[in-house]
Amino acid sequence: MASRFASFASALVFGVLAGLVSAGAQDRSIVVASTTSTQDSGLFGYLLPLFKAKANIDVKVIAQGTGQALDTARRGDADVVFVHAKSQEEKFVADGFGVKRFDVMYNDFVLIGPKSDPAGIKGTKDIVAGLKAIQAKAAPFVSRGDKSGTHSAELALWKVAGVDIAATKGPWYREIGQGMGPALNTAGAMNGYVLADRGTWISFKNRGDLAIAVEGDRRLFNQYGLILVNPEKFPSVKKEFGQAFIDWLISTDGQAAIAAYQIDGQQLFFPNAEKKGS
């Protein structure tokens, strides 16, 4: 009786496993390592069905920080990376992990802060002045601290502001090592400032007392890039499907689709793929 049960259980498990594995083996699909901003803003939820209808290719998105997404690709675990930290992306290509980098679109960062505005920076367009004021008044500031594109952008802005954040950071500067959403949740909970991409901010539901403090500075420009992982390094890379995805995104159709994605009547991402490859 015991052995009959065991054979039944094993048949069940191997049936399930076989089903799942075969579903994975016969597919027309690619893995795209991307960032939380593209996923959490709902952009992929909008674009991928359009691409699927056009090319019959499933795109499986792993949403991570830019640094982690590039690491995933560096291990050969993704076919395409879709991220936003140009210098890291260029290094990725230069190191031979990626074939070629394509500009695809941009959005911008906004500095979010509590409505009470303890640093007194609300309405300014100068992000550098805003950050200096936060540091001077030691107003709470939440940093992603996760090597993401937004984190790199934040560090670069501190540098432009002439603040050596590593040396001067105090208890007011809190690195949480998490994605954009958790950073916004944390900022909301502690009445702090936080740098966020506009897409995630617009689609973020738990705003509480938060509002945009600084926006519109050209230094808040946030460029997204697309890279096919190098098939010579990783033969498992599905280069035809991956390239098809890239080609579609930078085509007139794909660019129009990016421009068409809106939340609450606001356009989140601005296509700019004309300069092909860099």
């Binding site: 015991a2 094993s10 498990v13 799942l20 994975g24 893995v31 499933d58 998105v61 291990r75 675990d77």
Partner: protein
């Protein structure tokens, strides 16, 4: 806001995406429990019935491994299954299969450790009788496992509870891919990070309700079959 709906409305509306997530969560966790049972129960019984040097070290180790952090297991499986890892050629990272493997590793120690304890206690009761019947070692293991089946159900439920509740391992090896590797727990984590706290909480309650229902069903089965089998 257009999408200000709760998880309960999703259920009431029979939302297909939600049911796909629930189905995947159950398929992954139940498969992991079945696999872990096939490994952990014989392993636990073997340790219970065998005396060898270093046995107590192994028992302590096994008990400690019941507390394996899911992220650590997830990371280890990730490194193993990654294209750059030793099993990369299988190409199963970011698939439900990888999630089943990670959860299996996570709960084998739970099932093995609880089985060992149960079988050891039952062996104390059965030793003379089975020795007198000249039952072979594998026969003893099979007999004790079968006769302990009602107690072992608790071990299976403990394993299932841990598998269904963990987020760290499936997030890392599954990648939380929409419609493919998104489970209840990774969906809760995602909705939380999107600041969609009511939906996240609703999904969490759905998960708790499902785990509760499975436990109640298992308990009912136990009571009923215990009445049948004594």
């Amino acid at each position: 806001m257009s999408d200000q709906f709760s998880a309960w409305q999703l259920i009431l509306n029979g939302d297909a995406a939600l049911f796909a997530i629930v189905r995947l969560s159950l398929a992954v966790s139940l498969s992991a429990v079945a696999l872990a049972a096939m490994i952990g129960m014989p392993l636990g019984a073997l340790i219970a019935l065998t005396r060898f040097p270093g046995r107590s070290v192994l028992v302590v180790l096994l008990n400690a491994m019941m507390g394996l952090p899911p992220v650590v297991v997830g990371l280890a499986v990730y490194l193993l299954l990654s294209r750059s890892g030793p099993l990369g050629s299988m190409g199963i990272l970011f698939t439900p299969t990888a999630m089943i493997i990670a959860q299996t590793i996570l709960i084998v120690p739970i099932i093995a450790a609880l089985t060992r304890q149960t079988i050891e206690d039952l062996w104390a009761e059965y030793r003379d009788e089975l020795t007198a019947m000249d039952v072979s070692r594998t026969g003893r293991m099979a007999t004790l496992l079968w006769d302990a089946r009602f107690s072992l159900l608790t071990a299976l439920l403990a394993g299932f509870g841990r598998a269904a509740a963990e987020v760290g391992a499936v997030m890392i090896v599954g990648g939380n891919i929409d419609g493919f590797t998104r489970t209840m727990t990774t969906a809760v984590a995602l909705e939380t990070s999107k600041g969609n706290l009511p939906l996240a909480m609703g999904l969490g309650l759905v998960l708790v309700a499902i785990v509760l229902a499975i436990n109640a069903a298992a308990w009912g089965t136990r009571i009923w079959s215990e009445r049948q089998a004594g």
